[in-house]
């Protein structure tokens, strides 16, 4: 049924808009921009910050255009002197309780409050008064919270609760003492936070940020005793360019590798190679589970935020989770065993740095299970944003870098591994290998379109070796929860599930370049980054993990076969039930 239209006037322009939409949306569709701050489409539409206020003829005061619905005959003014002055007062009030340390703030340049202050020519703060002082929470391995920069827009709260279904943070206390915090103001380390970092992605200011690991990486890079190896996740190459002003979805693999080499890494490898191992092990595990009547459906385990979520919320379902380590952990383990031996390196002198789109990887890295012979598989994790900062710090002109290639012998990766970075990609890569393994043929139909796309839950039935297999790919933890409830209630009729904690998968991870709420309205960021990965896959000469020559060689020389004793020792892990609240 078509929605009926209403007629209204915005800034003297006759506008037709669908009934039920907000003035803000109607104005934007008509090409009239209204500034916003707390507004996040479909996630946070609460009229909290009052930056978007407008005047409606015949009404007293101002209306918040993000929640005020359009009405027939309405006459709206978005740009009068009164409106602009009122917005300026609103901003003044917000800034009066904001720690203004822009020069040293990590979000300087990508801060929505800063942008608005500039736009409104805020040269002075009239309402300077008492400011809320708060202790910085930097106890978790992934997220730093500095509440003195919080403007109470609640975008993080809505994201954590609605999109992720976690609810680690909420508005607590009242009046001037109101703040966004956890139960009893505990560290995120001690509550039900999964470290997905979606709160950071949605924070307009520097109140939430990743725990910076660039310092330790710099130190190791400058230490001649240490052999520093970088490995980069698939999603990083699809987004790193944005930090240098390049178009969203630009593939910057070559420049990224060149940049890392310039920074002084002894070797630059591709986590995609690790992803190919993950597929080998995971496809094998899946086939074994099917053939040996194991626990089904099997759920993927590459996303550490997701793993922490199930450990805290559904520990009884842990046997469903694949025992495979995530790609960078597998790869780190191989670097410190197979590669070290091959190159005659002392594994204890190797420092593996994973460049990830993810901040939960920082947590995953230091899990005690991720160790072999007393050494962590991975020694440090930096995000896409942190790598960009390092490149800028080193005064490297990223845009003009000549393309460079991953180092050998661990640099070869397949198209299957590239698509690991997007929702549905791990599933598709696993299916490619599973169908070849089961049929013993080199099948040509390898695009599984049904698991592509941005939907939060994608269901498909695929035919593999004459057998129908039902699969699900879910991204975003609120969607994951729906799938887990289905499994718990016994209504799940599928055998293989891929879950990624971040909506859209790793390309939209908590460590990726931050996009303003407006940029996200204008562009489908997820699709552009995903398309970049799918095009890398299309262009790859090898598109199935089991055909990767590096993978074949290492199985031959070292691991023997998927699921072998050594493979289990190095490439698989265990999970544990976790308390949601440590108090």
């Amino acid at each position: 049924m078509e929605k009926s239209l209403v007629n209204l006037t915005i800034d003297g322009k006759a506008v037709q808009a669908e009934q039920g939409i907000s003035i803000l949306e109607a104005a934007r569709k008509a090409g009239i921009d209204i500034p916003t701050l707390c507004f996040l489409k479909d996630i946070n539409e609460v009229g909290d910050c009052r930056v978007c206020l407008v005047q409606i003829e015949g009404r007293r005061g101002f209306a918040t255009s993000c929640i005020q619905k359009v009405e027939e005959g309405m006459v709206v003014h978005t740009n009068t002197e009164e409106v602009l002055e009122a917005r300026k007062v609103v901003l003044d009030l917000i800034i009066s309780n904001h720690k203004v340390d822009c020069l040293t703030c990590v979000r300087s340049g990508s801060c929505e409050l800063q942008t608005l202050a500039k736009q409104f020519n805020m040269t002075d703060i009239e309402f300077a008064g008492v400011r809320n002082e708060h202790e910085i929470d930097d106890l978790s391995p992934s997220i730093v919270r500095d509440f003195s920069k919080c403007i109470l827009c609640r975008r993080c709260v809505a994201t954590c609760k609605k999109v992720q279904g976690v609810g680690a943070i909420d508005t607590i206390n009242r009046g001037f003492e109101s703040c966004v915090s956890t139960v009893e103001n505990k560290s995120l380390n001690d509550v039900n936070c999964t470290f997905c970092g979606q709160c950071i992605q949605n924070c307009p200011t520097g109140a939430l940020r990743e725990k910076d690991s660039t310092g330790e990486v710099w130190r190791k890079l400058r230490d001649p005793e240490t052999y520093v190896i970088a490995q980069t996740a698939p999603a990083v190459r699809a987004a790193l360019g944005e930090e240098f002003g390049m178009e969203v979805g630009t593939n910057v693999t070559g420049k990224m590798v060149a940049g890392l080499k310039k920074l002084g890494f002894d070797k630059v490898f591709d986590t995609n190679t690790g992803a190919d191992f993950t597929i080998m092990e995971e496809a094998n595990e899946f086939i074994e589970r099917v053939q040996e009547n194991g626990v089904l459906p099997m759920i993927t385990s590459c996303s550490p935020g997701w793993v922490k979520y199930i450990e805290m919320n559904y520990p009884e379902l842990l046997p469903h989770v694949s025992s495979c380590k995530s790609p960078h952990e597998m790869f780190g383990a191989l670097l410190k065993t197979y590669y070290a031996k091959k190159e005659g390196l002392d594994p204890s002198k190797i420092f593996v740095v994973s460049v990830m789109p993810c901040i939960a990887k920082k947590f995953e890295r230091q899990r005690t299970e991720m160790k072999n012979d007393g050494l962590f598989d991975v020694d440090s994790v930096i995000t896409t944003r942190e790598l960009a900062r390092m490149i800028k710090q080193a005064n490297i002109n990223f845009i003009s870098l000549e393309d460079s290639e991953f180092d050998n012998p661990m640099g070869e990766a397949t198209g299957a591994a590239a698509i690991f970075g997007t929702t549905g990609g791990v599933m598709e890569a696993a299916l490619r290998t599973a169908q070849d393994t089961l049929t013993g043929e080199d099948l040509k139909k390898i695009n599984f379109e049904a698991v592509r796309g941005g939907e939060g839950i994608k269901r498909a039935a695929v035919n593999i070796a004459g057998k129908e297999i039902k699969v699900v790919a879910a991204s975003g933890l609120a969607n994951a929860q729906k799938i887990l409830e289905e499994i718990k209630s016994g209504t799940a009729d599928y055998q293989f599930v891929e879950i990624m904690a971040c909506p859209g998968g790793c390309i939209m991870g908590g460590g990726q370049p931050i996009k303003t709420s407006k940029e996200r309205l204008d562009k489908d960021i997820r699709k552009l980054r995903a398309d970049c990965l799918y095009s890398i896959d299309e262009k790859s000469t090898i598109r199935k993990s089991h055909e990767n020559p590096v993978v074949k060689k290492i199985y031959e020389e070292f691991l023997e076969k998927p699921g072998s004793y050594r493979a289990h020792k190095l490439l698989h892990t265990k999970y544990q039930e976790r308390e949601k609240y440590n108090f």
Partner: protein, 176 residues
């Protein structure tokens, strides 16, 4: 030796979780969870009953309530810290409230509050270590004609002065 280190994923698990036993700390909570449907709308009503029963909303009860209603604990805590009716600490044997509503405030209630805090050496919303006294700020008790007003366990003292407060405290001091 061959299977050592290998993760056993063939072990079947019962898909359905065994009926979750209430880890409730007491009968009251058990009864409460039987009385109410586990839906979010019941949060405030249940908190009311909990506050009345325990005299405050203990943290472990918030945790139980969060599990029962499937509401994140941060949200439960947010509601508890928003409404002044809910407290996180038990109130004292003598719960003293000073009205700081407009009428009382204008009539100098802040002086009474300051004196009270000075004498008991605790702040607003706190309880003395011996559990004897607690202080609260109230917003209008509906006796503006008697402003300024303070109450001790619900008993109203009108037209209050610092002197009156002192004498009431002296009396309580000797009464155990």
């Amino acid at each position: 030796m061959e299977n050592e280190g290998k993760v056993d994923f063939t072990k079947q698990v019962d898909a359905k979780e065994p009926e979750k036993k209430c880890k409730c700390k007491d009968k009251f909570l058990e009864e409460l969870f039987k009385t109410y449907q586990p839906i979010k709308d019941n949060l405030i009503q249940m908190l009311n009953e909990i506050q009345d029963h325990y005299g405050y909303v203990p943290m472990d009860v918030q945790k139980e309530l969060s599990e029962f209603l499937k509401v994140p604990m941060a949200e439960v805590y947010g509601v508890v810290t928003f409404y002044s009716r809910f407290t996180l600490k038990p109130k004292g044997k003598y719960s003293i409230s000073v009205c700081l509503g407009t009428a009382c405030y204008v009539k100098g209630a802040q002086k009474i509050m300051d004196r009270l805090q000075e004498r008991l050496k605790i702040g607003e919303g706190e309880t003395t270590e011996d559990g004897k006294y607690s202080i609260e700020a109230q917003r209008c008790v509906g006796a503006c004609g008697l402003a300024p007003v303070f109450t001790v366990n619900g008993k109203v003292y009108g037209k209050a002065t610092v002197k009156l407060l002192d004498s009431v405290l002296d009396e309580l001091e000797t009464s155990n």
